[in-house]
């Protein structure tokens, strides 16, 4: 919770003009939309398993940039047109923390 607050504060400072993060909407995005390739429980589909035990060796920054910019020559699209950097950071954090059920 403290981390989330810190993140929210940071977001507030860095993107003063943007609307606040909506964890409910982002959680839904992860499971419903990321989940269309990675599975609703994120254990993989056409896209790979992205549960915490599988991705815990990645830095949050790396995950954030994959989310924002995709991976060329794969089916992983860039989400930058749809979400902010702060939202991508929140998702990276969420994926690593593993509160995915």
């Amino acid at each position: 919770m403290r981390n989330l607050l810190a993140l929210l504060l940071l977001t507030g400072t860095a993107h003063a003009g943007e609307p606040a993060l909506d964890p409910t909407a982002l959680t839904r995005l992860v499971h419903q939309d990321c989940g269309s390739c990675h599975g609703l429980t994120l254990k993989g589909g056409l896209g790979p398993d992205i549960r915490p035990e599988t991705i815990d060796h990645y830095d949050p920054d790396v995950l954030q940039s994959v989310i924002l910019d995709g991976i060329p020559d794969t089916a992983m699209p860039p989400w930058r047109p749809l979400i902010s950097e702060a939202e991508a950071a929140w998702i990276a954090d969420y994926l690593l923390k593993g509160d995915t059920e």
């Binding site: 419903q32 939309d33 269309s36 599975g39 429980t41 589909g45 056409l46 089916a75 699209p77």
Partner: protein, 364 residues
């Protein structure tokens, strides 16, 4: 209870005691409730939900096929669960976990075999369909091979492998007569077809210059080809990464046109008479449906059923369409001629809608 007693009395009079218990399934169907792991039994004639059957596991991206007698549904869960649902008794008749990561299935033409497409172990399989002659056809996302498994000589399949279908096939369809199998390609331009009537089917390139375009557009949801549309003499296919649907001559497999759409299409489904094609779209434009007239290839109607339109199912003769609106927790029923909203039915995160009439169609 009084009614039941008189019904039984009447039945006894007629000498058919079972009459009171008769349940016809021809106008029933099931809706996948993806988050809850349940299916909703629906009645097309009454436009109503009849019962919820629970305990089917992870049903995200789930689908099902029906037994030839339209009594049982075989539900393919994402977690590898294969559940046999008894529509008459409104309960689970059997359930096995056949794999760990599954994506769909098919039932053989004789109704005796059920095949499931799995993402592990080995290559990820996609586009699994049944074909006449107790065959199944499926394709590998990783290797671009299509395999035809012929089970006509028993349960040891005779496998024919067709290589060179293309890079990263993401889904496939088979035409209603079981002759043409078409895979959509994510990793390169165009689609690839097979003539299943040929002794040794060879890959046939379709729209080889059509692809994701010079500037590749991000794809947030792979289109589905299962809802392929044959409208008279043409196929209609959702384009991958483009805001359009493609028209292809069913005989020559040459492109015959394109129709600009609202966003990236997910399903392009023909009304059973072939006169209209209904299209839904990928996130974040997935609140909208467009209806295309197949004679003029023009969009004739556009509307917003609600947040996250995931699937559409026509009644077998096409007079109505049932639409799942996931984030509003509703299935909505529309008249396909007047486009009037006829009914809203409560459902928990609904996705796929499947009427029992699918039991009699190849590829569904």
């Amino acid at each position: 209870m009084k009614t039941l007693i008189s019904a039984i009395a009447l039945a006894a009079t007629l000498g058919t005691a079972a009459l009171a218990d008769t349940i016809a399934t021809g106008d029933l169907g099931l809706v996948i409730e993806r988050a809850k792991g349940s299916v909703l039994l629906i009645d097309q004639s009454d436009r109503a939900s009849l019962a919820r059957i629970e305990g089917l596991g992870d049903l995200s991206h789930a689908s099902l096929v029906y037994s030839p007698d339209e009594r049982f549904a075989y539900v393919f869960g994402r977690d590898g669960g294969l559940t046999k649902v008894d529509i008459v008794e409104r309960k689970i008749a059997n359930r096995v976990v056949q794999g760990g990561n599954s994506i769909g299935g098919a039932i053989s033409d004789d109704g005796k075999l059920v095949a499931v497409s799995n993402y592990e172990p080995g290559s990820k399989t996609i586009g699994l369909v049944d074909a006449p002659g107790r065959r199944f056809v499926f394709t590998m996302w990783d290797t671009g091979e299509t395999w035809i498994a012929d089970m006509s000589k028993g349960n040891d399949p005779e496998i024919t492998k067709i290589t060179g279908m293309g890079k990263n096939p993401y889904d496939a369809l088979v035409t209603g007569n079981g002759r043409t199998y078409i895979t959509g390609l994510f990793g390169e331009d165009g689609l690839t077809a097979l003539d299943l009537w040929a002794d040794t089917p060879e890959p046939i390139r379709v729209l080889p210059n059509y692809g994701r375009g010079q500037e590749e557009m991000p794809v947030y949801k792979m289109p589905h080809l299962e809802g392929w549309a044959l409208t008279g003499s043409e196929f209609v296919l959702p384009a991958v990464g483009h805001h359009e649907v493609l028209w292809v001559d069913a005989q020559t497999l040459e492109e015959t046109g394109r129709t600009k759409t609202y966003s990236q299409p997910v399903f392009a489904m023909a009304r059973p008479d072939g006169r209209q094609v209904w299209v839904n779209f990928a996130h974040p434009m997935n609140d909208t449906i467009q209806v295309i007239d197949t004679v003029t290839k023009q969009v004739i109607h556009q509307f917003k059923p609600g947040p996250a339109v995931l699937h559409m199912e026509f009644t077998p003769r096409g007079h109505e369409i049932w639409v799942s609106v996931r984030d509003e927790n509703k299935v909505k029923v529309y008249d396909t001629h007047s486009f009037e909203l006829l009914r809203e039915i409560e459902a928990d995160s609904p996705s796929g809608i499947f009427f029992t009439a699918r039991a009699h169609r190849t590829g569904l």
